[in-house]
Symmetry: C2
Subunit: 193 residues, 2 copies
Amino acid sequence: MHEPLITYINQYISSPLTSEEEKLITTAFQPKRLRKKQYFLQAGEVCKNTGFITKGAMRQYTVDDKGVEHIVHLYIENYWATDRESSIMLTPSRYNIDAWEDTELLVISRANILDLMNKIPALVEMIRLMDERYAIANNRRLSSAISNTAEKRYEEFAQNHPQFNLRFPQHIIASYLGVTKETLSRIRKQPLK
Amino acid sequence: MHEPLITYINQYISSPLTSEEEKLITTAFQPKRLRKKQYFLQAGEVCKNTGFITKGAMRQYTVDDKGVEHIVHLYIENYWATDRESSIMLTPSRYNIDAWEDTELLVISRANILDLMNKIPALVEMIRLMDERYAIANNRRLSSAISNTAEKRYEEFAQNHPQFNLRFPQHIIASYLGVTKETLSRIRKQPLK
DNA sequence: GCAAAGCGTTAACAAATATCAACGCTTTTT
DNA sequence: AAAAAGCGTTGATATTTGTTAACGCTTTGC
């Protein structure tokens, strides 16, 4: 049940986890199943947990004044689902996170993460690496959102995230790119250049 | 010369730097002055340095096919100027960083950061905290870029970054928000709602 | 001190994107 | 098996934003 997580962590650190450390991790991360459409986090709550997805797909989104959903993150296997802002600042989240498919997660509380970091120094290093990658990915996306037309954003997306492109329906991807589903439909209809 | 940096670091860590540690830091960070318009980093180079701004203002931007600049970050005193992606991945940067005003920096190489982190554990903690904040700020901006109209993005910007709003001219802010200067001019002309 | 560059604004027009409405097809629910 | 919901598409139209050009004012460089 926890193997995907152990494997994932071992990829990031210089020497593999000891069986002692594996045990600590296995204890700290609780398995959880979510049915399609079930919430992992609802806007207004303080986000207390982080989930490592072992199976399934999720999304993080806001709902605006007009009731329109704006998707800010998509998650599949080996992704971490959480609202870091809420979790770190202890402020109510502006986001919903829910299951797009039936999903299996390994869930850990913020307190337990901090505890594990004290006990397993390699984890600190891993989280730093992940933060770096996360920052880089976010920066690229921001840069793209500011600089590019919808068409170019879609091209970059299709290149950088083919997994998402296959896994989520078009109207979800449209929202992730910040355009309407009609616009994305028209972009895709255009002959390739 | 290094006091602003020491003060800055001390704000982030639980117990103040020892004088020994201060010395290490003072040695590792080299003062540098940039005249207005001088480059700190040019697109195509691998970013080797990180600069802590003690005086002045800088900007990070790409230049697109048509020669238009798209500003992705603005920096003033107590900000860190660098391209993390290039610096970490050792890939040529897609960005330019230059001085908007005459600027004074404390510059450190990536290698020296890693070295300092080994010698001063508190720095590791500080960098983690900074990464967290950086990630949060970026996420907000991304969320805003995807979900909001230009008008709302400007409102949020004016709220969240009054320092930038005072310090940089309007066409720079327009670019930072991902709109043309004409559009921003029109937005600002509109009666407040 | 003068010319040039930088800055913000406005107007007319063009392009990109959103909105609204409708349709057909597929999948899910009952 | 029928009904409902989800999905992608298309067309007509509205809105937002970009483009081009021009103008006046201020700051900068020589």
